[in-house]
């Protein structure tokens, strides 16, 4: 157990050597929030100074790994020198001395969608019908808040909440609901056709039952 300061950039971001650019991005953002000032995850264990050191270390790792050219040079250093300490020493330097420092890739604020959190997704039957609760579980497992979906899909967040809570009476005509559920599911990388058809079936059933109750009341 070396301290984080002595680890490779990959180890710092908890990544394998084969990690894609997107995985680097995701790991960096996750680590940033873990070691942010006032973070709940470090509360009472790490002092602000300790966290600041770790944050600097993260920045360095991200700088190197997020740029394909500097990452390749870094990989060469890791591969070429198996002489322990010396390679370690060098690995902490930005290997950009002999060439132009690469312009840092701008951090794209990509949709959080399609970035499922490892481990917790796809634990439910893939072909099972979607209800509001299953949609919510899929959203949470992907680390996405309702407001983020609303921002991407431009669907009013209240409707998204109503969909999850199955407040069918508060939802608009089914043609709109179909559009909302499809957008919601796409945003999370779910089977949008299945989600929309199974959810609409629930909506239809509820509305026809409600209709029946009303006509009974009249009769």
């Amino acid at each position: 157990m070396r301290s984080l300061v002595d680890e490779t950039h990959y180890e710092v971001l908890e990544l394998g050597r084969e990690a894609s650019g997107e995985e680097v991005e995701r790991a960096y953002r996750m680590a940033q929030s873990t070691y942010a000032p006032e973070s709940l995850a470090t509360y009472s264990l790490l002092g602000e100074d300790d966290a600041a050191v770790l944050r600097e270390r993260l920045e360095l790792a991200y700088e190197v790994l997020s740029d394909p050219a500097s990452r390749q040079r870094y990989d060469e250093v890791l591969d070429g020198h198996d002489d322990g300490g010396a390679a370690q020493e060098r690995s902490l330097q930005l290997p950009s001395l002999e060439s132009e420092p690469p312009a840092p890739e701008p951090l794209r604020l990509r949709a959080p969608a399609a970035l499922p959190i490892e481990g917790f997704t796809d634990e439910e039957e893939p072909d099972a019908p979607y209800d509001g609760a299953r949609l919510r579980r899929a959203r949470l497992a992907r680390g996405v808040e309702v407001d983020q979906i609303a921002e991407i899909t431009k669907v009013n967040p209240s409707y998204l909440h109503f969909i999850e809570e199955e407040r069918f009476d508060d939802l608009p005509a089914s043609v709109y609901v179909r559009g909302f559920v499809t957008a919601y599911a796409r945003c999370l990388g779910l089977d949008a056709a299945l989600a929309a058809s199974s959810y609409l079936e629930r909506l239809r059933q509820h509305r026809s039952e409600a209709e029946e109750t009303r006509s009974w009341g009249r009769g």
Partner: protein, 314 residues
């Protein structure tokens, strides 16, 4: 944590803070595992605040762990109480002696070995709050130690206090030489004279003192795999807290903790507690029940098929 020894598999559910839902989780996860076909005994380890029986919907049992602690009953089988679930039995913690509830060291050793000898697949212990040596012992001898916390600073603080206590105890037990053990005891005092603040500091000191023990320390760290369970999550952000805590376990302790799962804040939970019935019974389809089943499913991975006994090969 250690290799799977012969006998029933033991899982401990701890986490330091009272009120984070350990007992609720233990009761419901035990019901789920029993329904998967395994023979389960769930043990109320909280002699100072027994209520696992209540979560399972059983009146306070007349026999309990307190009889073992008071040397009135040596045979744990006689303390088993039937529950509503065919495969699930309980050892309650009711009627403890208020003057001296906690078992002494030798009693704890005896208790653990008797629990392992119970003719079942799995023993699930619900630990009390705090970091009493008895609590830490049960946690450390178990095959799986689950640390429960909720997304609140108070809970996180107690969970880390719990983990620190478990970590240093475990490391001390793993060392061979008296001088290194003494060093770890010193490090357990956060204001120690040597200025050892973190596990990394401690490792440096040990390596200077005795490189062989340093190697042993690292391998002991590697073999310790606590599992993290976040209860009462409300947002996606709070679910991510499990990953963040796992990262901090790695960077601070060098531990490879596992994020076991999460259970959401669900109004059904309170209703089920008031009704004195497991949630998975009352509302099997609510989100919290689905998450509880996932946790149960993960815990029985590697246990072998139900009915053929535990996998003893380790």
């Amino acid at each position: 944590m250690g290799p799977v020894p012969d006998g029933a598999r033991m899982i401990a559910i701890g986490g330091g803070k009272g009120g984070v839902g350990k007992t609720f989780l233990a009761a419901n996860v035990a019901v789920c595992i029993a329904r998967a076909g395994y023979e389960v005994v769930v043990v109320d380890g909280d002699l100072e605040g027994a209520n696992l029986h209540t979560c399972l919907g059983i009146p306070p049992p007349p026999r309990s762990l307190a009889d073992f602690v008071a040397n009135r009953e040596e045979d744990l089988v006689k303390l088993l109480v039937e529950t509503r679930e065919p495969n699930l039995r309980l050892i309650a913690a009711t009627h403890a002696n208020l003057a001296s509830a906690q078992p002494g060291h030798f009693q704890r050793v005896r208790l653990v070995s008797r629990l392992r000898q119970l003719p079942v697949d799995l023993v699930l212990i619900d630990l009390g709050a705090g970091t009493h040596p008895a609590v830490m012992d049960y946690f450390l001898v178990s095959d799986d130690g689950v640390i429960v916390f909720s997304p609140e600073p108070t809970s996180i603080e107690n969970a880390y206090a719990f983990l620190r206590a478990a970590f240093y105890r475990r490391m001390r037990l793993g060392m061979m030489t008296h001088s290194v053990r003494a060093l770890i005891t010193q490090a357990m005092d956060q204001h120690n004279e040597r200025g050892i603040r973190t596990p990394a500091d401690l490792l440096r000191e040990i390596e200077t003192l005795d490189p062989g023990e340093g190697v042993r320390f690292v391998s002991t760290v590697r073999s310790f795999r606590p599992r993290l369970l976040v209860n009462e999550v409300r947002t996606a952000e709070e679910i991510k807290l499990g990953f963040s805590v796992r990262s901090v376990c790695r960077s601070y302790f060098g531990l490879d903790a596992e994020y076991l799962g999460y259970v959401n804040h669900d109004p059904g939970v309170r209703r089920s507690v008031v009704a004195r019935r497991p949630l998975v019974d009352v509302q099997p389809d609510c989100d919290a029940s689905v998450y509880l089943q996932r946790v149960a499913h993960k815990l029985i991975q590697g246990l072998g098929a139900p009915g053929v006994g535990p996998e003893l090969s380790g």
